[in-house]
C-alpha cells in the first residue's frame, strides 16, 4: 500500500481542523507531540460501532466513511469525512462508545489522538477547551437533528 500524500506536517494538519480552531499554538503543538499516524488501506476499518471509544482521529490524507449498521447488519451510510475533519468524537464524552463505525473509502492517513491526552491538553487553557467542547456539542446536535429527520422519514408513509 502506498499511503496518500499528506501535504502538511502534523501540526499544520491539526491547525486546519475546524473543531480545533479555538486552540492556541501551544496546545496544537502539544497535541501534535501526542499524535500517532495511522495508515489505512481502502476498505479497512478504523473503529467499530458500539465499541469503547479511546481515541479520536483527524484525517491527514484520504477519505473515511462513517456508517451505521442495523442490528441485522444492514449498513446505512451516514457521512463522508475528508481531509482535516475529525471523527471519533464519542471518545471525548460519556458514555465513551462509538456511535457509528468508520472505515477508509480510499487509502488514507489519519492522526490518532488519545482522548485522555486530548482532554489534558484542552484543560491547559480551559477557555479554549470550553470553545472546543461547545463546537463539539454543536456538531453532535447537528447529527441529532439529522438523525431525527431520518426517523421522521422512516415514520412517514
Amino acid at each position: 500500500m502506498r499511503p496518500p500524500t499528506t501535504d502538511l506536517d502534523v501540526e499544520s494538519t491539526l491547525a486546519h481542523c475546524e473543531l480545533l480552531e479555538p486552540l492556541s499554538p501551544d496546545q496544537i503543538t502539544a497535541l501534535a507531540d501526542h499524535c500517532r499516524m495511522v495508515t489505512l488501506e481502502a476498505g479497512e476499518a478504523l473503529f467499530d460501532q458500539d465499541t469503547v471509544a479511546h481515541n479520536l482521529f483527524v484525517v491527514a490524507g484520504g477519505r473515511l466513511a462513517i456508517r451505521l449498521a442495523t442490528p441485522a447488519g444492514r449498513i446505512i451510510e451516514v457521512v463522508e469525512v475528508g481531509q482535516y475533519a475529525l471523527c471519533g468524537w464519542a471518545s471525548l464524552v460519556a458514555p465513551h462508545i462509538y456511535v457509528a463505525e468508520a472505515s477508509a473509502l480510499d487509502d488514507s492517513t489519519v492522526l490518532a489522538i488519545s482522548a485522555d491526552e486530548m482532554e489534558d491538553i484542552l484543560l491547559r487553557e480551559p477557555a479554549a477547551g470550553y470553545q472546543v467542547m461547545k463546537k463539539l456539542a454543536g456538531l453532535v446536535s447537528v447529527h441529532l437533528r439529522e438523525m431525527k429527520e431520518e426517523l421522521i422519514e422512516v415514520l412517514e408513509p
Binding site: 446505512i76 464524552v93 477547551g129 467542547m133 441529532l144 431525527k148 426517523l151 422512516v154 412517514e156
Partner: protein, 157 residues
C-alpha cells in the same frame, strides 16, 4: 391560573440541576440572578421546533414535554423534563435553533436563562464551564444514540 408551588429559590433549584453541577456557588448565584420565573398552564407552548434559540430552561415545578413533530403531525417522543431538569440547550450551541418544541404537560414553572448571559458566567471559571459543556455534549450524544437505535430498529423491522 394558580401556578404550582416552587419549593425552592432559583439558586437552590439551579444547584439541583445535574447538568450545572460543575459550577461554583458564585456561578450558580450569578445564573440565578439573571434567571426569570415563568408560569405555564398545562398545554402551553414554551417554544416551537426550529425557533431561534436564545434561552434555556430549568424546571422548577411540573413537567415539560420536549417533542419533535413530523410534517404529517406525528410526534416523536424525545423526553419529558421534570423538576430540576434543563432543556432548551440548543440556545447554547450553534446553530442556535431549537431541535424540538416544548409544551407543559401539567401546570409548571420554569426558570428562563438567557444563553448569552449564561455563557459569560460559565467563562468566569472556564474549567467549570468546560465540564458543563462536556456534560451537555454527552447528553446530546446519548439522545443521538437513542434516536439512532429507534431509526435502526424501524429500518430493521
Amino acid at each position: 391560573m394558580r401556578p404550582p408551588t416552587t419549593a425552592l429559590t432559583a439558586e437552590a433549584t439551579l444547584r439541583l440541576c445535574e447538568l450545572l453541577r460543575p459550577l461554583s456557588d458564585r456561578q450558580i448565584g450569578e445564573l440565578a440572578a439573571c434567571a426569570t420565573l415563568r408560569s405555564l398552564r398545562r398545554g402551553d407552548t414554551l417554544f416551537d421546533q426550529n425557533d431561534e434559540a436564545h434561552d434555556f430552561f430549568v424546571v422548577a415545578t411540573g413537567r415539560v414535554a420536549v417533542r419533535m413533530t413530523a410534517s404529517g403531525g406525528e410526534s416523536i417522543g424525545v423526553f419529558d423534563a421534570s423538576q430540576y431538569r434543563l432543556f432548551g440547550w440548543s440556545s447554547l450551541v450553534a446553530p442556535h435553533e431549537y431541535t424540538s418544541g416544548a409544551t407543559a404537560v401539567e401546570d409548571s414553572t420554569v426558570y428562563v436563562i438567557p444563553a448569552a448571559a449564561a455563557e459569560d458566567i460559565f467563562l468566569l471559571e472556564p474549567f467549570a464551564g468546560y465540564e458543563v459543556m462536556k456534560r451537555l455534549a454527552g447528553d446530546i450524544s446519548v439522545r443521538l444514540r437513542n434516536v439512532r437505535t429507534e431509526v435502526l430498529g424501524l429500518l430493521n423491522g
